[in-house]
């Protein structure tokens, strides 16, 4: 309906005129004003009109209208959305005044006929003239500016609303009157505030009414100053009329006055948010109880109080007046609803009466004051009139005393008034007192907030202040409760945050859902495939028979193992790499190994032949040469003197090092080996050696003391094969003692040597059974052997003890060790004092009796070896294993290249430096070794 009407308006004023004239029609408009606005607001044409209108309007009020209009509009049409109605309102006002100018334009009907009845019918005041005046004035202006039919239309739609509002309620109308009256006077701003009242709640800007209307007469004041010249605006008194006039003309006064007018419409000094306290007397608004207290204590306030006392003017209680921030409109609205037309009229009379408040006499007019303050209470804020009256009636002395008494309480009272709870000052200890030279406290410095102030009061207030408390919360006590300041911006931000969070959650939820779907889908897909696959393999397996099963189930997973083997190449630690490098360095070369292999196998073959020879030679003697071939064969087993040849020592254990030229063979004899037997073997050997390898020349040396003969080859590399004769009987004999010894042939070989050879045999067996099975053990023993050969300190440690030690230590780790770790563990064991006195020692597993393998070492040797191992251990821990091994530090492994550019650069620079100083490095190592050796020697 409203839209229809608008439509009609844009095209002609006839309908409008009818509507305006008919109250019923107007009421109908009022029923849906919001909708109507919204509809128009959305038509671009109308919007454009607004803009144009705003730009071109010469109306001074335009700017001033906005704030007031906004609120008042909200009161009238609270259901309307957030469209920028301030302009509409402006127009509304304009309209009220300008209709005369517009209506004739589109329609050429008589506007005044339409408008006048609407207003005049209800206006029972004398303001009609004023109104007409007002209407005429803007009309003149508007006629210049509004040429567009659209503009007319836009304005016209607002009009009915206004008219309707005016038509429906008498009180509204009276407000409207007031507005018009104001418009007639040149107080354009004031009109701005009163104008909205025509829209239905002129109470909406209640304080404005009282104040604004009340102020007008002040201007009339100057003509009648009396004894005491008191300026109500500035709340000061002037000595004489001259100064008073000067004051009134002064900038300060004017400024204050205009400021008062500016703000009069809205809540006086309305705080942005939250409540504030107002000192009625001085017309000062304070943002907090502390500020208020400070004001009450302040010189200015005291001065005003004094003055007022002197004047006999009422002094409002020091109790603060709460100025609610936002709620004004609503309370005012209810007030508006409650007030009747009668109250309006009283206010009108007030308008008349107020001039007297700004009095000039100091005595009689007290009676009027309560009215004024009551009016103020009614209009502006709710102050108890009684109290105000009481305060006014109170004797001057009492009033004078009041501030002093009140002072202490003001804060509490003010706080109570504000409804905020009294805050305990916090963080006293963070406020430093800054003293001047005389030790007088001149200022304070808050370390938390990094601010300074001079006033002790300020200090107090600072400690209660929000900022300080926030800092305190942040820096000292996170549990301190600091009330949240509900600033509009913050709230908006919060809302925004909440909204965003919600959105995010929503998004995640959705994504999760979809992800779940995906996952599930993929899972089932795979599952299906897997089953198919399994079926296939099952089928294959059945087809292929038994051959497949072990592989069958692995089938689907088969590919998994593909890429792993290359990855299994373990990136060794630096220690491992060094140990392995050293190991490959000391490991004998192929030709050496071949040479050794050759001479050993040749010796073995020759010995076998010798054994055969001797057996043949001996057999006839024993069997009287009658033995048959077969018998010979059988009999050979028992009497054969040389029962067998075995490799022992490093050869058997595979501990050969590069440059090792001595290998051992042991020939087990059936009986205790004698010198005769040894010589016999020595005599037979060359012949058989020649038969085995005709082209090789071997030198043979007999060493009776060693119970052995030594075979040496003539070609490079020279290798000595020591063949020792021994017999298990030697050991038994040793065990049995005397009786066997007596049976010994006179030329029996050296017993000790034979026993050693026997032990060597056992060691070799033990080694093959135990040590060779332990990971890294053989490598470490080789390394340690080399160390023993190289470093004199370690030389006393014999091979067997070393083997045993390493095997025990490495095996006791309980799990396989990498070569580097194994070497380190060996060093750790020695460093922890395994060789030192007081430790269990190293039991020899190859002896019947508990024998300490290490017993051959002297205490000093043990000590030196331990010290050396301790140092070596630390060298190893600190990545200098190459120093122990007597080699150059290896550059970091190659496989790092390409993957880590950064690292490679560093490595390169590293190796570059190494390269530069390679010689030096090597020398240093050697020197180190030498010095170590020298040290050991010194000991």
């Amino acid at each position: 309906m409203a839209a229809n009407n608008y439509f009609g308006f844009t095209h002609g004023g006839t309908q409008y005129g009818a509507a305006a004239a008919a109250a019923a029609g107007a009421a109908a408009y009022q029923a849906t004003p919001a909708a109507g606005y919204a509809a128009v607001g959305h038509t671009p044409a109308a919007a454009a009109t607004y803009a144009a209108q705003r730009a071109t309007t010469a109306y001074e009020a335009a700017a001033a209208y906005q704030p007031a209009a906004a609120t008042s509009y909200a009161a009238t049409a609270s259901s309307a959305p957030t469209y920028d109605y301030s302009y509409t309102r402006v127009q509304t006002y304009d309209n009220a005044a300008k209709t005369a100018a517009f209506y004739p334009q589109p329609t050429s009907t008589s506007f005044s006929a339409a408008a006048d009845p609407a207003f005049q019918a209800k206006s029972s005041t004398t303001y009609t003239a004023g109104y007409q005046n007002a209407a005429a004035r803007p009309a003149g202006q508007a006629s210049k500016t509004y040429n567009y039919p659209a503009a007319g239309a836009a304005q016209s739609y607002t009009y009915p609303n206004q008219a309707a509002a005016a038509a429906t309620a008498n009180k509204n109308y009276s407000g409207y009157d007031a507005a018009l009256y104001n418009a007639a006077t040149l107080y354009v701003q004031q009109q701005a505030h009163t104008a909205p009242k025509g829209a239905g709640t002129w109470k909406a800007s209640r304080p404005g009414v009282g104040a604004a209307i009340g102020q007008k007469p002040k201007l009339k004041q100057p003509p009648k100053p009396q004894q005491l010249h008191y300026c109500d605006v500035c709340k000061i008194s002037c000595a004489g009329p001259q100064t008073y006039r000067e004051h009134l003309e002064g900038q300060k006064h004017k400024k204050k006055e205009s400021a008062q007018k500016q703000t009069a419409g809205t809540t006086p000094n309305a705080p942005r948010g939250g409540n504030s306290l107002r000192c009625e007397l001085c017309d000062v608004t304070c943002t907090g109880s502390d500020a208020y207290a400070a004001h009450i204590r302040g010189a200015k306030h005291q001065k005003v109080v004094k003055l007022h006392t002197k004047l006999g003017k009422p002094i409002p209680s020091t109790e603060p007046v709460v100025v609610p921030g936002k709620s004004t409109t609503t309370t005012a609205k209810t007030g508006a609803a409650a007030t009747t037309a009668v109250t309006k009229t009283t206010e009108v009379t007030k308008v008349v009466a107020t001039p007297k408040i700004n009095f000039v006499g100091g005595t009689k007019l007290t009676t009027t004051t309560p009215t004024a303050s009551a009016a103020a209470a009614g209009t502006a804020v709710k102050e108890e009139p009684k109290e105000a009256a009481a305060a006014a009636a109170a004797p001057a002395a009492a009033t004078a005393a009041a501030p002093a008494v009140a002072r202490d309480d003001t804060v509490a009272v003010a706080a109570a008034a504000l409804g905020e709870k009294e805050v305990e000052p916090v963080g006293q200890e963070y406020i430093e007192e800054i003293k001047n030279e005389e030790g007088k406290v001149v200022s304070f410095n808050c370390k938390l907030c990094e601010c300074r102030f001079n006033d002790p009061n300020a200090k107090e207030m600072h400690m209660k202040g929000r900022r300080h408390r926030l800092q305190y919360k942040k820096k000292v006590n996170p549990e301190l409760i600091v009330e949240v300041k509900p600033s509009l911006r913050q709230r908006k931000l919060q809302e925004e945050k909440l909204r965003r969070q919600q959105m995010r959650e929503e998004m995640w939820r959705r994504r999760e859902e979809s992800a779940m779907d995906d996952e599930e889908r993929i899972y089932w897909e795979e599952r299906r495939r897997y089953e198919e696959e399994m079926e296939y393999f099952e089928w294959c397996r059945r087809g292929a028979g038994r051959g497949m099963p072990p592989f069958g189930p692995m089938g689907p997973m088969g590919p998994r193992f593909g890429p792993i083997p290359p990855m299994l190449r373990r990136p060794d630690s630096a220690d491992d790499r060094h140990v392995m490098a050293k190991h490959s360095e000391i490991y004998p070369k192929d030709e050496e190994l071949n040479a050794i292999q050759k001479i050993v196998s040749n010796s073995e073959k020759a010995l076998k032949m010798v054994s055969d020879d001797i057996a043949e030679a001996d057999a006839p003697k024993k069997d009287d040469g009658t033995a048959t071939e077969s018998k010979d064969e059988d009999g050979k087993e028992l009497p054969r003197t040389l029962k067998g040849v075995m490799r022992v020592g490093v050869l058997a254990k595979g501990l050969l090092l590069q440059g090792d030229a001595d290998v051992q063979l042991v020939v087990l004899c059936a009986e205790k080996p004698t010198r005769t037997l040894l010589e016999r073997v020595a005599n037979l050997m060359p012949k058989h050696l020649a038969t085995v390898t005709p082209d090789e020349k071997y030198a043979l040396k007999l060493s009776v003391e060693q119970a052995s003969l030594i075979i040496t080859n003539q070609t490079e590399p020279q290798i000595n094969v020591t063949v020792t004769l021994t017999s298990p009987l030697m050991r038994d004999g040793a065990a049995d003692g005397e009786p066997t010894a007596s049976k010994d042939p006179p030329d029996v070989l050296d017993k000790q040597k034979c026993l050693e050879a026997l032990a060597a045999l056992r060691h070799a067996k033990w080694f093959q059974a135990r040590a060779s099975g332990v990971q890294s053990c053989v490598i470490v023993i080789r390394i340690m052997r080399e160390l023993c050969q190289r470093v004199p300190t370690w030389t006393p440690l014999n091979t067997w003890a070393l083997e045993l030690l390493v095997e025990r230590v490495v095996a006791s780790a309980g799990f396989p060790l990498a070569p580097g770790d194994a070497l380190r563990r060996v060093l750790e064991a020695i460093a922890s004092g395994l060789l030192l006195p007081g430790t269990p020692g190293l039991i020899d597993p190859c002896e019947k009796e508990p024998v300490d393998t290490l017993s051959g070492l002297t205490a000093q040797e043990r000590e030196d070896i331990t010290a050396s191992a301790q140092h070596a251990l630390r060298l190893m821990a600190f990545r200098q294993v190459h120093k122990i091994l007597g080699m150059d530090a290896l550059p970091p492994p190659k496989f790092n290249r390409g993957k880590f550019n950064r690292k490679r650069r560093r490595d390169n620079s590293c190796s570059g430096e190494n390269g530069d100083s390679e010689g030096g490095d090597g020398k240093k190592d050697k020197k180190e070794d030498e010095s170590e050796a020298a040290k050991a020697d010194a000991k």
Binding site: V426, Y430, S573, T853
Partner: protein
């Protein structure tokens, strides 16, 4: 395609599992007590009675006298009462709020040494620990103590590094170490508050004393800790060892054997030196994992590499001296600390001190931790 799918699900994961096994695993050093079966006695055990006697004598010397203990106990009780009062009724004291207070350290553990009558109390603040708050708390506590017993001569002093404050009377000292609740730790501002590391160490001290109560109440351990602390105080080389490391080392030496029965003090004492000499606290060793921290942190990593070298070196020299009969000097009944640094002769055997192995050429120092890391990285890279 199918295979790819299957592999995608399980393959790499399995590969990783298998591969991770090969990453750098710190290894425990050789410890003869853990592998005793491998080293049967080849000769009779030497008579250790003198060592045992000497250790017990030393322990007696080191233990605080009953008067000392009472003095400390009295002061601690008083301060605890004051702190309790502050918790329950802070009254006008608002510089800080106390969450709780706990006794920690040697006093709590019963490992106090004589002439070192210092008890440690950790105070956990609910508020953030500013220096002013700590000072105010110190003053407040002292004030109340004075009110209780005006006769006492109390001295309040701030501890270095803002650890807290200490209150001492003529006979005893109580160190009040300040920290704050966990949730406050991340709110700290280095400009304004105590050092976070220190606060954390104080929180750790509480965990340590709790752990100690539960695990290390055996008196052998306590005796050993006292002896080790004495050892640390006498030999400069052991300076880097923290009390907590010594606690753990003592516990390890006494309790960590196959039978899980507490070992005798003299064995454990020797074992401590053996362990240190074998490089328990060297890089690459598994060391002792801190039972009070997550993530398997090795306690000795708190020392610098140089310090680790120094500790190991000192232990190695002392172990040799001990083995050659120098127990009285090692334990501290005779001689001085020079045995760790000078050449000595024991029963005709020359025991020479060792040299540092740790070098710090700048590039090497950089490379050392880096290398290890890089190795790990390699594995990850190879894995993926």
């Amino acid at each position: 395609m199918m295979r790819g799918g299957v592999r995608g699900r399980g393959g790499p994961r399995m590969g990783r599992g298998g591969y991770k096994m090969k990453t750098f695993v710190p290894r425990l050093p050789f410890d003869i007590y853990l592998c005793e079966p491998a080293f049967q006695r080849a000769k009779p055990a030497p008579d250790e009675t003198p060592l045992q006697q000497a250790l017990l004598k030393r322990n007696t010397d080191l233990s605080p006298s009953p008067t000392e203990q009472t003095a400390v106990l009295n002061l601690v009780t008083k301060i605890a009462t004051v702190l309790d009062t502050l918790i329950v009724t802070p009254g006008s004291f608002d510089a800080c709020q106390i969450e709780e207070h706990r006794q920690v350290g040697s006093y709590k553990k019963g490992t106090m040494r004589t002439n070192h009558n210092v008890a440690d109390v950790v105070v956990i603040l609910k508020t953030l620990p500013t220096r002013e708050a700590v000072e105010a708390l110190g003053n407040q506590v002292t004030e109340e103590l004075r009110q209780q017993e005006p006769a006492d001569v109390l001295v309040m002093a701030m501890l270095p590094n803002d650890r807290g404050f200490e209150i001492s009377n003529s006979e005893a000292t109580v160190r009040v170490l300040v920290t704050t609740v966990h949730q406050n730790l991340r709110k700290l501002d280095p400009e304004l508050h105590l050092d976070q590391k220190i606060l954390q160490s104080h929180l750790a001290a509480i965990r340590h004393s709790r752990w100690f109560e539960e695990n290390a109440h055996h008196s052998s351990i306590k005796v050993l800790i006292r002896l080790l602390r004495d050892l640390k105080n006498r030999f400069e080389g052991f300076e880097p060892l923290s009390p907590w490391m010594l606690d753990l080392l003592a516990h390890y030496a006494v309790m960590n054997n196959p039978s899980r029965q507490a070992m005798s003090v003299h064995q454990a004492y020797r074992r401590c030196l053996q362990l240190l000499a074998a490089g328990l606290f060297l890089p690459g060793s598994a060391g002792i994992a801190d039972p009070c921290e997550g993530g398997n942190i090795r306690v000795h990593t708190a020392m610098t590499l140089e310090q680790q070298d120094q500790v190991c070196l000192t232990a190695q020299t002392l172990l040799r001296a001990l083995s050659h009969g120098g127990y009285k000097q090692v334990i501290g009944l005779e001689g001085n600390a020079s045995i760790a640094t000078d050449m000595t002769v024991w029963e005709g055997i020359v025991v020479s001190p060792l040299e540092k192995a740790y070098e710090k050429p700048p590039e090497r120092k950089e490379g050392e931790p880096g290398d290890e890391l890089a190795d790990d990285d390699d594995m990850d890279m190879a894995d993926n």
